[in-house]
């Protein structure tokens, strides 16, 4: 197959090295062009994210190992090979295929089942298409990877659940309110996590954001980022009534929202449900309010528990996903073998045609007295004879190739049917990767 993959990810390489290997989107076309120029490279694809950089290539039959690719990485990122090598993994043929499938399906991600990676892989694919660095084999491999990723996302539960605290907050808000469009969220206190949650909520359609912080100035600064409004701490109570989701993360040593305040609030809201997220420590909201009807209070521990629980579930689902990947790798292998049978059959037919024509000419030279009609009959006879004889092996070859797994067997079949020069059959330990490429 001659497919090689060299890469570094979050488990193999420290962040410093990953940073140096990173190829920004703007530099991708040029990096691909350079990769194409590397000796022996037939097809190539570059995938670079903050967690990984992977170089997927298919080399021609003259290539001897993936060293040129290693040199390419070393040269391009100005890193000596000795420094680079211990942090890289190298894979070949079906192992490389399996790796790409796993990456696209987010089975190799830092956060199992996260959804960003598939988009990044698609971007890498499109960039390679644009630079015309993909051919039949890698193009087919990538398209297969997308369908595997899609299958895994829909058939297993790996991507069903939120993976971070802010995502859990959003999911819970959706469970309560359904659609978040037109809802109002209040951000009480400045904090990274609170801001992140608020941002996710606005992405989901929350319209109004009210921010309050210890100083009005700080509140204004944050509010500007969300296109929201800022209010002072003293005024906050007057706005509660209109707030559907409250994210509280103040540094106050006492409760910012007492139970009696919430009870009063619910009367004024005419019991419309409210979602309170308390990510402060010590807590900002009296935990007793969770017992009130239509009040849903989650503190940081509650959210963390949900993240942990979904993580366990994702790990469980990953096992199913892995077996699906195995099946798909086998399917890809069949597809690839099928790719090679076409040229083989064409060659076989061409050779037969040639033999037939030679024999016919020789015969006609010896019998010049044949009538035109007789010549024609003779030629028809020979042609149908050749076709009849070739029909069976053609059908069989297609079947056989689809099922062959061992490269050694492929060589044997090829030597049986391929016209012209015989090539030596490799011993299994020499590896199938040195096989002649026919596609």
């Amino acid at each position: 197959m001659n497919v090689y993959l060299i890469g570094a990810n979050h488990t193999s390489a420290p962040i410093e090295l990953r940073e140096r290997l990173f190829v920004p989107k703007s530099a991708l076309p040029e990096a691909l062009d350079e990769l194409k120029r590397v000796e022996g490279v037939q097809e190539g694809l570059l995938l670079s994210t903050c967690n990984r950089t992977e170089v997927l290539t298919r080399l021609d039959q003259t290539a001897d190992g993936e060293e040129p690719i290693l040199d390419y990485l070393s040269r391009r990122h100005s890193l000596p090979v000795q420094e680079l090598e211990p942090h890289l993994y190298r894979m070949r043929d079906l192992d490389a295929v399996r790796h790409m499938f796993r990456v696209a399906a987010s089975l190799d991600s830092l956060v199992l089942g996260e959804s960003q990676i598939l988009g990044q892989v698609k971007e890498a694919y499109l960039a390679s298409l644009e630079r015309r660095s993909l051919g039949r084999v890698l193009g087919g491999l990538m398209r297969h990877a997308f369908s595997v990723a899609k299958k895994i996302r829909t058939q297993t539960g790996i991507a069903r659940n939120p993976v971070s605290i802010s995502q859990v907050a959003v999911s819970l808000a959706v469970q309560i309110f359904g659609s978040l469009s037109g809802k109002t969220v209040m951000l009480l206190g400045a904090g990274k996590m609170g801001e992140l949650a608020a941002r996710r909520l606005t992405e989901e359609g929350v319209r109004t954001v009210i921010v309050s912080s210890r100083t009005l100035e700080r509140a204004r600064e944050i509010a500007r980022r969300f296109g929201g409004s800022a209010v002072s701490f003293d005024e906050v109570v007057n706005h509660f009534e209109f707030v559907d989701i409250l994210i509280s993360s103040t540094g106050a040593p006492h409760y910012v929202l007492r139970a009696d305040q919430v009870a009063d609030l619910m009367r004024r809201r005419r019991n419309r449900p409210v979602f309170l997220i308390d990510i402060a420590f010590p807590r900002d909201i009296d935990p007793r309010v969770n017992e009130f009807d239509n009040v849903y209070l989650y503190d940081i521990d509650d959210l963390k528990h949900i993240v942990d629980a979904t993580r366990l579930e994702r790990q469980h689902e990953a096992a199913t996903a892995e077996s699906l990947v195995e099946r798909e790798v086998a399917a890809f292998s069949n597809w690839y073998n099928g790719l090679q049978v076409g040229p083989l059959i064409a060659g076989m037919r061409e050779r037969s045609e040639q033999v037939k024509n030679e024999q016919l000419e020789r015969f006609l030279a010896r019998h010049p007295d044949l009538s035109a009609r007789q010549r024609q009959d003779l030629e028809t006879l020979l042609r149908s004879l050749v076709n009849k004889i070739l029909h069976e092996p053609t059908v069989r070859l297609k079947q056989v190739f689809a099922q062959l797994e061992d490269p050694l067997h492929i060589d044997v079949v090829r030597n049986l049917f391929e016209p012209g020069e015989k090539m030596p059959i490799r011993t299994p330990d020499a590896g199938g990767s040195e096989r002649r490429e026919k596609s």
Binding site: Q175, I176, G178, Y296, I306, E313
Partner: protein, 264 residues
Amino acid sequence: MGLFFLRLTLTLYSAATLAAFGAVLGRRRWWDRVVPGLIGAGCMTHLVALVLKGIELGHCPLHTTGEIVSFLSLAGMLIFLFGFYRRGLQILAVVLLPLSLVLAVVSNLLPAQTLSLEGSSLDGLLTIHVALSTLGVAALFVTFAASLLYLWQERALKQKSGAALLRLRLPALETCDTLIHGTLVSGFLLMTLAIITGALWKASTLSGTFWIWERRESLALLAWAIFGALIVGRLLVGWRGRKVAYLAMVGIVAVVLRMLGVTP
């Protein structure tokens, strides 16, 4: 022949209910074809059974309690299909399908006793009364289903068992709430009209009284009062949530008991 189709219907409904539970519990691909297919087939055979019955009787098969209950079970299935295709509310299956199945079974067990007293032929007013009550009860079934889902979702949110929640994909609380309110209002209005037409019919056929106090009628009145109070309470002071869901379910149970002729 009608009996054959009825039995086939019961088999299909049972299979559909089982398949829907399987789908909820993880066989998510069954939603694509299996569940809607089984329900669709069940509704067809049910319709055929009803038509055959109608031909046999020579009139619309809505005269006995059993016939009305049978019709309601068909309505329950159709409501589910509507919710499924138009609103994506697969989870309604958990409540509506077993409910419809039970109704379909019950309808076969009930004695074939006609509603009309002294065997008088059904006049227009009574037909309208029966139609209104049937539609009202169908709307209340959805209220019942939505209430159960609301309570389920609410409980999970309060207990913070979020992971299990996210897996089941119940409809959002506010979706359930809207559904409860909407169907409760339509059920209440239909029921009110049904009570009025019922009273008018009694006045026209019997001794000119609008209301004969029977103990079993108290169930209908109780339900009507609960629904009315829930609707007014929501408008005036914003009653909603858990307690509303519980009360609505109590009212609906009363309606169904009344319909089946239970005397308190």
